[in-house]
């Protein structure tokens, strides 16, 4: 069997530090962002719920205490290629009014047998 040929593509990792109770048009903000990012065709996105934290969105929240667990931190990590990052940022700008967004350069491993789901959404 032929080994898969891999190359690296320059990209960015975005981290969005939000709060779980932030909403967008009646839906949880993180869901709205995840949908938008998926439809845009970004390489990857994961959403993690934090167990404790503070920051732009909350003074202190923790899962340890019931009354302080209403707005736990939500961390969305998105990977996108260098060439498509600008369009993605324009979209994100519509969603995120408050919070923290950081961006770090990364190299994305591209396998040539791996089809980007971007093609499925090119309609």
């Amino acid at each position: 069997m032929m080994p898969t040929i891999s190359t690296f593509q320059p990209g960015k990792r975005l981290r969005l530090f939000l709060g779980e109770s932030q909403s967008w048009q009646g839906h949880p903000l993180y869901r709205a962002i995840l949908d938008a990012v998926y439809h845009y065709g970004a390489v990857a996105a994961t959403v993690q719920r934090g167990i404790e934290g503070f920051g732009p969105e909350q003074h202190l929240s923790t899962e340890r205490l019931g009354e302080m667990a209403e707005n736990l931190p939500v961390l969305i990590e998105i990977i996108e290629t260098e060439e498509d990052i600008d369009g993605l940022l324009t979209i994100l700008d519509q969603f995120v009014q408050r919070g923290l967004i950081t961006m770090t350069p990364v190299s994305i491993l591209v396998r040539d047998n791996n089809q980007s789901h971007r093609e499925h959404h090119s309609d």
């Binding site: 530090f17 920051g55 202190l60 700008d93 923290l100 967004i101 950081t102 770090t104």
Partner: protein, 450 residues
């Protein structure tokens, strides 16, 4: 609309176990509490489902025993200076874990304004450890270069047992008639044309002839604080004494560090950004619209002074200097007919922006001023090439940063700290000058606990 590139910040990642302890409490909880108490911009804790770290111990969620030692990761995005300041204590807490640092671009950051400032922080957590000290017998000729070239403004004098016996500041040396003028003027003059640089060196020559030592010029009535002094108290002492830095000594009078006004104000800064878009000429910081979740914060207009000294662009330089000499701010603000801020003028601006050949005269006048003498300019000094009098426009600094009167004290401190300015003109909605605010005014908030 698009995100602005807001700046760079440092990302601190701490990898520990959920069950790790610190002084009988859960470690990650203690770390978050520590970060919060020290004014960090934010921290996010996430739990992984399995992993191992620097301790080599395999962490996993243990459903059988209803206890979990899963790996937890704490992420902190903050100003590099604050992270480096807190790092020693954090690494002391993280005895078996991993800590990494990397730089990240910040695309967006909105403030979480604290309800109140952390006034109960002790000065030992924010002070600068002292690296340069002199002994009572150090020669004055060795002290002057230290005071002029070093980033610090005051030099502690300690004896052989490390006891603090005095302090030497450039201000005291001016009052004693030893230094001819303030440090900023001397250092600026040195970078200007050859004649001016020579003139300032010449004014420093008499110091060489004096056989003075540290003990002859030091101030031995030093107001000190202890490492446990709370920052609110230190701010109060600075306001009542007018001092900008206080040596920190322990119960044996051994010097531990120095806490400055800047260190105290830095406590109020929550922004993680190290290079905000600052110092663009005549930019005005427009505060974000307030949202219900933000803590109520007093606007800077509560703390500003309305007696800013102003001139217009065509004011003759002689009048500008007169205004400068009587201004309590040692600055005059240049405004147009509608009171819009056009520029700012300090003594350094006058010296640096006037024609080369006139600088030695201006320098001499500034030294007379420092000595409290009547300032005298030789005829023609303040006239331009064609004999036309110089005006405010010729010497003003266009790069003036202003703040909106509706901005919070918090935002004002952040702007001041990020830009290094000591004074900010305050403007109204139409960008007309409304007042002026200095660092001491903002220190008042810390002392009063607004």
């Amino acid at each position: 609309m698009h995100f602005q590139h807001q700046g760079k910040a440092l990302v601190l990642s701490i990898y520990i176990g959920e069950a790790d302890q610190w002084h009988g409490n859960t470690l990650y909880v203690e770390i978050v509490e520590f970060l919060r108490k020290h004014g960090c911009a934010g921290a996010t804790v996430t739990r992984a489902i399995a992993g191992y770290g620097a301790g080599g111990r395999l962490h996993r969620e243990n459903i059988l025993y209803l206890s979990s030692d899963a790996p937890v990761m704490i992420q902190v995005v903050d100003h590099p200076a604050r992270i480096h300041r807190l790092l020693p204590q954090i690494s002391e807490m993280v005895t078996s874990g991993l800590i990494t640092l990397h730089e990240a671009e910040v695309l967006k950051y909105t403030h979480a304004h604290p309800h109140r400032l952390a006034r109960d922080v002790q000065v030992q957590h924010i002070m600068e450890p002292v690296v340069t000290t002199v002994s009572p017998n150090t020669a004055l000729t060795d002290i002057i270069p230290l005071l002029l070239d070093a980033p610090f403004r005051a030099l502690p004098v300690i004896d052989e047992q490390q006891h603090l016996v005095g302090i030497i500041s450039s201000g005291d040396l001016i009052d004693a008639g030893i230094l001819p003028t303030r440090r900023g003027i001397i250092n600026t003059a040195r970078t200007l044309d050859e004649q001016t640089a020579q003139a300032v060196e010449q004014s420093l020559l008499p110091i060489q002839q004096q056989q003075l030592q540290a003990k002859d010029v030091m101030n031995s009535m030093v107001r000190t604080v202890t490492p446990e002094t709370l920052i609110g108290e230190a701010a109060q002492i600075m306001l009542t004494t007018g001092l900008r830095r206080l040596p920190v000594v322990n119960t044996e009078d051994v010097l531990q560090g120095i806490v400055s006004r800047t260190d105290l104000l830095q406590v109020a800064v929550t922004s993680p950004l190290s290079h905000p878009a600052e110092s663009v000429s005549t930019t005005t910081q427009v505060p974000a619209p307030p949202t219900a979740q933000l803590a109520p914060q007093q606007p800077v207009s509560h703390y500003m002074h309305t007696n800013a000294t102003t001139v217009d662009e065509q004011t003759p330089l002689t009048d500008v200097i007169d205004a400068l000499l009587v201004s309590p701010w040692k600055r005059v603000i240049v405004v147009d007919g509608e009171y819009h801020v056009q520029g700012i003028i300090s003594d350094i601006d006058v010296l640096a922006r006037i024609q080369d050949e006139k600088r030695p005269n201006v320098l001499r006048a500034l030294m007379q001023w420092a000595r409290g003498e009547t300032v005298h300019f030789p005829i023609g000094t303040l006239h331009g090439l064609e004999g036309k009098p110089h005006t405010a426009t010729d010497v003003m600094n266009h790069d003036v940063l202003t703040i909106m009167e509706t901005a919070s004290v918090q935002e004002t401190i952040e702007m001041m700290m990020a830009s290094g300015r000591k004074l900010l003109p305050v403007v109204d909605q139409e960008r007309r000058l409304a007042g002026i605010v200095g660092r001491s005014d903002l220190l008042r908030m810390l002392a009063e606990g607004a």
